[in-house]
Symmetry: C2
Subunit: 401 residues, 2 copies
Amino acid sequence: MRTSTVSDLRQNNRAAVLRSIVSAVEATRSGIAAQCDLSSGSVTNIVTDLIAEGLVREFGSKPSSGGRPIARLSVVPEGAYFVGADVGELGVTVEVFDLTMTRVDRVFRKLRTRSSGPRRVKAAVADGVAALRKANPHIERALVGMGLGLPGIVDTGTDGVTRVYAQSLGWPMVTLDDLLAGTDLPTFADNGAKTLATAELWYGSAQGAEHSIVALLGRGIGVGVISGGRVLRGASSSAGEWGHTKVSFGGPTCSCGGRGCLEAYIGGVAVAQRWSAVGGRDGDDVEATVSELFARAADGDDTANRVVDETTEILGLGLANLVNLFNPERIVVGGWLGLPLIDMRRRELDVEIRRQALSRPAEQVALSSCRFGTDAVALGAALLPLEHFIAGTLELPESAA
Amino acid sequence: MRTSTVSDLRQNNRAAVLRSIVSAVEATRSGIAAQCDLSSGSVTNIVTDLIAEGLVREFGSKPSSGGRPIARLSVVPEGAYFVGADVGELGVTVEVFDLTMTRVDRVFRKLRTRSSGPRRVKAAVADGVAALRKANPHIERALVGMGLGLPGIVDTGTDGVTRVYAQSLGWPMVTLDDLLAGTDLPTFADNGAKTLATAELWYGSAQGAEHSIVALLGRGIGVGVISGGRVLRGASSSAGEWGHTKVSFGGPTCSCGGRGCLEAYIGGVAVAQRWSAVGGRDGDDVEATVSELFARAADGDDTANRVVDETTEILGLGLANLVNLFNPERIVVGGWLGLPLIDMRRRELDVEIRRQALSRPAEQVALSSCRFGTDAVALGAALLPLEHFIAGTLELPESAA
DNA sequence: TCACTTATAATAAGTATTGAAATAAGGGGG
DNA sequence: CCCCCTTATTTCAATACTTATTATAAGTGA
């Protein structure tokens, strides 16, 4: 974000004010001034602009302590709409959000097979978006853009082309353009773990922290690292590939071909396998198997508890490594595997992290669970165009003018 | 860096211009304009200011292609001076640099024992600084500040107090203030690996890259992560503690008390031990032992080569993990252990990293060796006050006015 | 000497921020 | 019911900075 001219400055300040209003349920001019470190005069100017643009409105007022009442400000929900899509193994969820990031509508398009090719996914996304636009014609006027949460590596090269490597779905490399085709919406994409981290950063458990780690445990093991208030992306936006970091020489072979990957220990499939290896249920449906594992453990089943303990220990090691490397204030654990795990073993996990990490960074970090389930992947994806909209790099469609 | 007012803007642009002139050997107005993305008018204004302040000067000109010759600009070396200190196990090196970051003078104060307490180090630093000031009275006029490169964790809490945890020296926790006392210079401190990374970022192999990893291998295993052009610090500035990340369950016990730490495999002591365990030399002086190991390996000694191979492999695993997590463009390896290792096994290390990391991020990364040896720790430390000086958060002493 | 280039400098125009002063909106006491 | 007090917002003058634009400097080649 280059701020070298006076208009960049205005842009930045406008963005800060808009962001502040969007993320607060209710804002006031002086509150914004304090939060954005701006004078009341500047806030007045910017808010006046935003009201003129139809993005913000005043709604009533609340009493001040003995003076002129404070005007309440809020975003105009209909001011802009954003689409977010969660591309998963079972299907594609497409959702529309208004400017308050309230979900307006959603559709789910099931995929026939567990690993449908990009063509099917493309069709499902296009179909889902079309269905939403048809069912909600009023959004058309202010539909700004779309974000995709994808499994696997989403990599934006120096050439500006976004490429998707969804190895877990068995896809070949696909460019984002290939995956979109029909759609005329400006579209952004990111790895699902990163979009979930973005959602937690804006509205969930990572809110307010400058440095957090959002670990997403499911079939895959992902992490979104928040550093300096933004999601860490690295040179080509593929930073945060935690699942295939090695935690053991040799070790079990992972789906990536490597050995000793963290995912080969605590990924959904691995946990289910570890359980069935010691006599647990052995089913096709990993999610169901793991869920039963947790249920058994809760019921006091020793074997199940040992598997859960072991998982906790390895997760603790993995998180401790991240604590040493990133020195976060907060660790947020989520995902369909992570949420029940942390519910059941929060204290133990906390102890394990502190045991395995260096004491200094470990002392600074707080452990918590995600506020959202994986259903927030689409919300986080929709935050991608929102961020561009706020930053001013994405505008309302012509028709709005 | 909050840029919300017009003067912040000026400050930022001034900083960008000054930084550009300091890091280039020779600058021109239009070159600066291009590099900093500013108009020629603005550059003229800012440069005029800098010349008036005595930080920059014009020196001659070079022909342009058929028009008015281009004025050469350079920093005035005597415009400001910075002290950098490298606190090592054997002694304290204190150096003074001028504004071109050319070393003006240096002193070394030996520490009696390998792990002298903070009191001795404090005395050595104070003595070194005093000696330099006495020997170079002309620097006094423009002595801006000091930076310390320290072993161990340097942690700046939310209270703003900088604390040093130099476990490898057997120190208790010490605050930076304790460590300074007598000195009246504004002082900053950072972990030695991070200051070396800073030096490599400004003048060495990490120059020009936005995202790099600078791995420093010696007795300890440290890394400075450069993300978005700046050294990653995390919540309390202790990010980058790579040496004690776990790469193996169980595994050998490390000096930190943990097991399976990377440092317990490829730290200087561990490498020496691995060698002596298979019949290599067994000496007190780790550095000499390791240096002999490399010499033997170069001579074709099979045992030595096996130890070096094994070290390469483990280092490759460790770096691959960082590649997955940070998605850097460049990996820079240095330190008294790292430099000879990469000289001898560059290809093999490269192959190993690519084998163990995910292919996408691995394809994007280039491996190289540090331009500087560990002697640049003091240079990097001196860059801390330089950065503050450039950013305008640190000024020339009163006497200069 | 006279176009013609290219690099800087000077100037004009426009815009943003701030801080002070003005104004708006209520509360409460006499 | 009027006046004073408090607090929130707006208005406005002062200031500072960037960008164009225009002028000037300093050479080249004919």
